[in-house]
């Protein structure tokens, strides 16, 4: 069971209040791109056994989307950040570097 803090309403709740939205920071290719690139955008996902940047929605709560950095193996959550952030904030990247250094 994950305990997730929603950055929109600030509540810390268990994962049953949230809906996962898959891999984050996927860029839509420019118009006129190749079919292969567009298929990549539509279908190809990383699914790593490592740190994963994800989209989540506080579905049973305030209803807002947000981003989360989570380790898919240890289930550690490194932080949540705004839905419109184009990339993870430096603070979260630093925490990941610190926590995953061996």
């Amino acid at each position: 069971m994950l305990l997730i803090q929603c950055p929109a309403c600030g509540v810390e709740a268990e994962e049953t209040e949230f809906a996962p939205g898959g891999e984050a920071h996927i860029l839509r290719p420019e118009p006129g791109c190749s079919d292969a690139d567009f298929a990549m955008y539509l279908f190809e996902r990383k699914n790593p056994r490592a740190v994963h940047y994800e989209r989540w929605r506080h579905a049973f709560g305030c209803g807002k989307w947000f981003h989360m950095a989570r380790h898919t193996h240890t289930l550690e959550i490194f932080g949540v950040y705004a839905a419109d952030a184009p990339e993870p904030p430096q603070e979260i990247k630093d925490r990941i570097a610190e926590r995953t250094a061996s």
Partner: protein, 189 residues
């Protein structure tokens, strides 16, 4: 148009005996959903004019007279008022808001509201909602779930909660709360 009997139809059932928690359906509750910029001064003025209430802080509610305003999201509040007053609240808010980018809608028929009260009321809700209800202050609002139903909970007093959900779940929620307030649920282990 709206008919209070609609709200009652599915709920024409005797509530369980009072074992420390009572359940009732509040079928004369009016509700108005408002979306807009909660930090905007014009929004606050229009809300004040329509309800007498201030804009609530995050996950809080404010009260004045017959009205209660609940924080629903970063850009949404819900007004609880008398059922017959809801259209007037919408009109007064929209008039005062002028050209501001806001939306107010009478959603009284969209949701059902229940009151759960008594010294064991929090235990009824704790059966189904993943919320720490012992640390849930008076006036606090929590959107969560009860069983599998999207639910809002507001604590209206030390021993009193109001629970709201979409009306299509009203009968289910009523049954669920009645079971939760029954002897098997509330007996001390």
């Amino acid at each position: 148009m709206s008919d209070l009997s609609l709200a009652r139809a599915a709920l024409d059932v005797t509530p369980p005996p009072d074992l420390g928690a009572q359940v009732e359906a509040l079928s004369s509750r009016g509700m108005v959903a408002i979306r807009g910029d909660l930090a905007d001064a014009g929004f606050a003025a229009a809300l004040k004019a329509a309800t007498g209430c201030d804009v609530p802080g995050v996950r809080r509610s404010t009260e004045a007279g017959e009205c209660r305003v609940l924080w629903m999201s970063t850009d949404e509040v819900m007004i609880f008022c008398e059922w017959s007053a809801a259209p007037g609240v919408v009109a007064s808010f929209m008039e005062k808001a002028g050209d501001a980018h806001v939306l107010a809608l009478d959603v009284s028929d969209a949701r059902a509201v229940f009151r759960v009260s008594g010294e064991k009321a929090w235990r009824v809700l704790a059966k189904g909602a993943p919320v720490d209800l012992e640390r849930f202050g008076v006036g606090e609002v929590r959107r969560t779930r009860i069983a599998t139903v999207a639910t809002g909970i507001v604590r209206t007093g030390d021993d009193s909660f109001e629970v709201f959900c979409f009306r299509s779940f009203a009968a289910y929620m009523w049954d669920w709360l009645c079971v939760g307030a029954g002897a098997e649920s509330l007996s001390d282990l």
